[in-house]
Amino acid sequence: MFTLHRTPMVVHAQSARKIRVPLRFFDEREALIISAATARIFPSDANGPGATEGGVVIYIDRQLAGPYGRDRYRYTQPPFEDGLPEQGYQGKATPREVYREGLVLLGQDFEGMTPAAQDAKLKGIETTYFFRMLRQHTIEGMFSDPMHGGNADMIGWQMIGYPGPYMSWGEHIDQHYGKPFRPKPRSLREVVGHPVKPSEDAE
């Protein structure tokens, strides 16, 4: 595992221990398929861990189970009509429904396919709303605060040299010009000293 400037760092999530997390939205079969797809979008490779180690599927599962997944904050009044791309997403489907449809696109056997076959499958659905959502959620799951279920042990942040939410860079903002400044990542919980309730846990 290397950070951006190729300094070795210990990443706890890479240890052998397995953590079992209860699923909120997917069933186990669905979770494995989505996890396999995110692992092709953001693979584990020579450049560091990927979506599997980051726990991206846990992140997605929680988002879909929460208010975002059921479009709590989207304007969902009818009529639903097709518009121009410039008019934004006009679909009726909630993110949950988009994933249910996406799982059909991926197919029941997706998880067991070779990486090359998985890539070909994803290539074929690259332009779908589901794929664009999955790609965005993969990035979110890799790089959001660990309280949301992904970015396990802040491996995403370590990989890109992002330190998380520190209260002050007042002594550093005009220093380190041209040189990497890589403080050890800290989560929001560590910074504020207590658990914070994420939006997916709200009504």
Binding site: G88, W169, V196, S199
Partner: protein, 573 residues
């Protein structure tokens, strides 16, 4: 329906303009004032746990709930408008402080010639230079008239900066606090821009460079450059927000009340005078608040919508070119300009919403447009804003074609902290074809029609952005970037990509009732006890960020009300 006791003044909207007016009237008069804010209360302590990109920048925790009320959008009056089902292109705030809570704190002044855009353009280039189909007009006030109020607004917020930009109008005073410190990236821009003959200046910032006590005795601490400004509230109060700059004063004023959960649906009137407002409270009860003086101070689009719903003034008819309410809708011609990929890290997680370096050499009419196919220009800046990991991840040099998978991942990781862009924030001219009216189909949670936006870019914006992008690519190369990529140029207006929240127009100001909704004192021409505050009064969109100008205009109106209107109610001249 319940009718409450009469108040002297009812102010609709508890953002910067409404709360500033309330504070001024509270301090300088004995009038009873109620501010009606449809969102909830907010305070600095609410933001302590708020340093989370996902919930705030992506799930938009501080923004208006689109499920209850949004707008519809189409390009032209021939098209079918569809609802903006989730906000992206612009982000209306809600709650006490409004968008003034989640802003970045960029506070440039408008260039003097913006206020006289038609006169100056015709003088220099002739009338033929104005784009066909434009509906621009001079503001009816000059920079000189507004200047003292700019200075007062800067002192209120403690703006950090350094005067001396050669293209700006004169400042009657130095900024109250020195410029903010800046990260590496803006220094590269500053040095490269200077070497190419431009005139870089520190960007003025409402994020304090040092602790500051304002004329109201409000003390705010220095900014810590944590990088959580845009779409966040400041957890230490270093970024001027209505909740940390105005509310502490208002809280001491016995004659001012801020009532939250009050969603105003109509401005009421009788015999040519407003008599108050009606609103629904959080329980859904219809309430009438009688008042002698009403101020519309909700966000731009909602000011227009409330006038249309209340049937006050003549709605703009685009086909006939009659009426004024809803006309001259503008957004802002923004672009990510050029994206630069460096070989060294920028440590760009540090910063504040407005710490950076700006040039105005290509703004307004600072440069000769005689041989160019557009007029006006843009405020161009390099920021160190605290780029977040989700929103900042994924940019790769143009030489990389993959958008997912190992190749993309490697390129994106390598680029993450070595990439930044120059922001182009350009003027958006007003056109007869860009306007607002009420949507015939879609409604809000109360059953009222949504506001319908009809808007598209025109060649002036497209050509201006293209020209400035080519100029900025030169600067990018001089900054030592390995690869410089031009951001996509605007073709048609879209509601998907964030531009700014600087929508303007709809209740525009002007020198006479034949060309505007309000006079230069922001007083309704036909209903003299109704005032409209905020950027909905801008006749067209100046470059840069509107908040400081909104505050200056609000102070000017407050003076006019206190010094003249209250002594002799009626139309101010």
């Amino acid at each position: 329906m319940k009718t409450l006791p009469r108040m002297d003044v009812a102010i609709i909207g508890g953002g910067w303009s409404g709360l500033l007016m309330a504070k001024e009237l509270g301090a300088r008069t004995g009038l009873s004032v109620v501010v009606l804010e449809r969102g909830g209360p907010r305070k600095t302590a609410d933001y302590f746990d708020g340093m989370d990109e996902l919930d705030y920048q992506i799930r938009l925790r501080l923004m208006q709930d689109a499920s209850k009320e949004t707008v519809t959008f189409r390009h032209t009056s021939k098209d079918r408008a569809l609802p903006v089902r989730q906000f992206s292109s612009f982000l209306p705030g809600t709650g006490v402080g409004g968008a003034g809570e989640h802003w970045n704190g960029c506070t440039p002044r408008v260039l003097p010639d913006c206020f006289e855009i038609v006169t100056r353009t015709v003088e220099r280039y002739g009338a033929a230079k104005l784009p066909a189909n434009h509906s621009m007009q001079d503001w009816g006030i000059t920079y000189a008239e507004l200047e003292p109020f700019y200075t007062r607004a800067e002192r209120l917020l403690g703006i950090s900066g350094k005067t001396g930009d050669p293209f700006e109008g004169p400042h009657s005073a130095e900024y109250p606090t020195p410029p903010q410190k800046i990260g590496h990236f803006p220094t590269l821009f500053r040095d490269a821009a200077r070497s190419l003959g431009y005139h870089p200046s520190p960007a003025p910032s409402a994020n304090l460079s040092q602790a500051y006590r304002n004329p109201d005795g409000i003390v705010r601490p220095a900014c810590q450059y944590c990088g959580f400004c845009e779409r966040f509230g400041c957890m230490v109060g270093a970024k001027a927000q209505p909740t940390n700059t105005l509310m502490p004063v208002i809280a001491r004023q016995k004659n001012v009340t801020v009532r939250t959960g009050a969603n105003v649906r109509r401005v009421l009137y009788k015999d040519g005078k407003t008599t108050g407002v009606s609103y629904v409270d959080v329980q859904g009860e219809e309430i009438v608040q009688p008042a002698d003086l009403v101020m519309l101070a909700s966000w731009t689009l909602n000011n227009t919508r409330l006038l249309l719903l209340s049937k006050i003034g003549e709605a703009y008819d685009a086909a006939k070119g009659t009426g004024h309410v809803g006309r001259n809708l503008t957004h802002q011609a923004t672009s990510r300009g050029v994206v630069m990929f460096f070989d060294h890290p920028l440590n760009r997680f540090m910063g504040s919403g407005a710490c950076g370096v700006a040039i105005r050499d290509l703004d307004g009419d600072s440069f000769d447009h005689g041989r160019l196919d557009f007029i006006r220009g843009a405020y161009i800046a390099a920021w160190s804003r605290g780029y977040p990991p989700i929103g900042g991840f994924g940019a790769v040099p143009p030489s990389v074609k993959a958008t997912w998978g190992s190749e993309w991942k490697k390129a994106a990781i390598d680029a993450f902290d070595c990439t930044s862009n120059l922001g182009i924030s350009g003027e958006h001219l007003a056109y007869r074809t860009n306007y607002m009216d009420l949507d015939p189909t879609y409604r809000d949670a109360n059953g009222d029609p949504l506001l319908r936006m009809t808007m598209d870019w025109n060649d002036n914006e497209r050509n201006m952005i293209a020209y400035l992008t080519s100029k900025m690519a030169e600067v990018g190369r001089a900054m030592g970037a390995r690869e410089v990529a031009a951001a996509a140029l605007p073709r048609r207006y879209d509601v998907n990509t964030y531009k700014s929240t600087h929508l303007q127009g709809g209740t525009i100001m002007g020198a006479n009732p034949g060309n505007s909704v309000v006079n230069t004192w922001l007083q309704h021409w036909q209903m003299s006890n109704l005032f409209v505050l905020g950027a909905s009064t801008f006749p067209q969109n100046p470059s840069g960020n509107p908040t400081l100008t909104i505050l200056a205009q609000t102070l000017r109106t407050a003076d006019a009300i206190v010094d003249r209107y209250l002594k002799r109610p009626g139309l101010l001249v």
